[in-house]
């Protein structure tokens, strides 16, 4: 899995999936950082409708990781590589 956030693109390795308080919770690591993603059933239609979250705010909610957002990774485009 890859997290492609507006402030960086990182690998996300899922190590566990569970239900917590009615939310789907993906446990894993974004690179070296322990990260989890929580989704409530009511959010699923919204996610499905958009498939790729466009706005950063929605991206943030889906990511659920302030840490990921707090970091500004710089991207070098494929073209430049």
């Amino acid at each position: 899995m890859i997290i492609n956030s507006p402030v960086g693109r990182f690998p996300f390795e899922v190590t566990g999936v569970g239900l917590v308080d009615g939310r789907i919770r993906l446990e894993g690591a974004m690179g070296t950082w322990p990260t989890s993603v929580e989704v409530t059933p009511s959010e699923l239609p919204r996610i499905a409708a958009r498939l790729v979250p466009r706005s950063a705010a929605v991206g943030a909610a889906v990511l659920g990781s302030a840490a990921a957002l707090a970091l500004a990774a710089r991207r070098r485009s494929r073209r430049a590589a």
Partner: protein
């Protein structure tokens, strides 16, 4: 410090002669080249095999008396070391560095920031003035929405259909506006002109990022590996890194 291509190449080069730890702020190696670039993957694997200790997702903050302060989720430590190799990457010049005077208003962004925001589909303006050419300018031009009018100031005129006007040889000198930027004054050989814009992107004049206290300017126990150029290839970055640290080994063992 810094696990972009430069830091990875420097770490690998030094690993044959010294105990090396590579510290990176972000949770994965690659820096601006990204974690899955083939050259990054290759170097990470080789560093690993050469015994480089990869410490990802931890920020280095201070270098005092050969101790590096590391802060991050899971790591809070002072690391002792003989030498710091600083490969912190580059960024465009700030207004003070250019220097660009005038009003302090909304709408003036570093190319790094503008790029991230545009990529997140945040509209930054209808008329963008992009200062400088090269890497950051190209990224911003690529992301600029189709309805935006783009003026390029200084640098080489990019061969992009996105550019409506270009002022090669000009430098930005003053920002004007009330709440948001309304005009950018540019100058060349003493000739000034004001261009209308609602967003200014500063993408000119690459500078080395220096953000570790004690390793800001030249110091005997710090080596900087930061190639500043408008466009870079992986090979150029790696070669520069290897050449820069080549003289280091042996120095601290004597």
């Amino acid at each position: 410090m810094g696990a972009g291509l430069a830091g990875l190449a420097a770490a690998l080069e030094l690993a044959a002669h010294a105990e090396v730890e590579l510290v990176e702020r972000l949770p994965a190696a690659g820096g601006s080249w990204q974690f899955d670039h083939p050259a990054v993957r290759d170097l990470v694997g080789r560093c690993d095999r050469a015994g480089v200790r990869l410490t990802m997702g931890v920020t280095a903050l201070r270098w005092i008396e050969r101790r590096l302060l590391l802060i991050g989720p899971g790591t809070r430590a002072w690391r002792e070391a003989d030498h710091l190799v600083f490969a912190g990457g580059t960024r465009p010049a700030t207004p003070a560095e250019l220097p660009l005077f005038g009003a302090r208003v909304a709408g003036v962004f570093a190319g790094t920031v503008a790029h991230h925001l545009m990529e997140a589909h945040i509209a930054l303006g209808r008329h963008l003035a992009v200062c400088g050419s090269g890497y950051w300018a190209d990224l911003v031009l690529a992301e600029a929405p189709s309805h935006a009018r783009v003026t390029v100031v200084g640098g080489d005129v990019p061969a992009s259909p996105r550019v409506a006007a270009a002022w090669p040889g000009y430098a930005p000198v003053e920002v004007r506006g009330r709440d948001r930027v309304e005009q950018l004054v540019i100058e060349r050989d003493g000739h000034a002109r004001a261009i209308d814009c609602d967003c200014v992107v500063l993408a000119a004049d690459q500078r080395p990022i220096r953000n570790v206290d004690g390793a800001i300017t030249a110091t005997p126990d710090v080596t900087y590996v930061q190639l500043c150029a408008d466009t870079l290839t992986p090979d150029a970055v790696v070669d520069h890194a290897i050449a820069t640290v080549a003289g280091l080994h042996g120095r601290n063992s004597t």
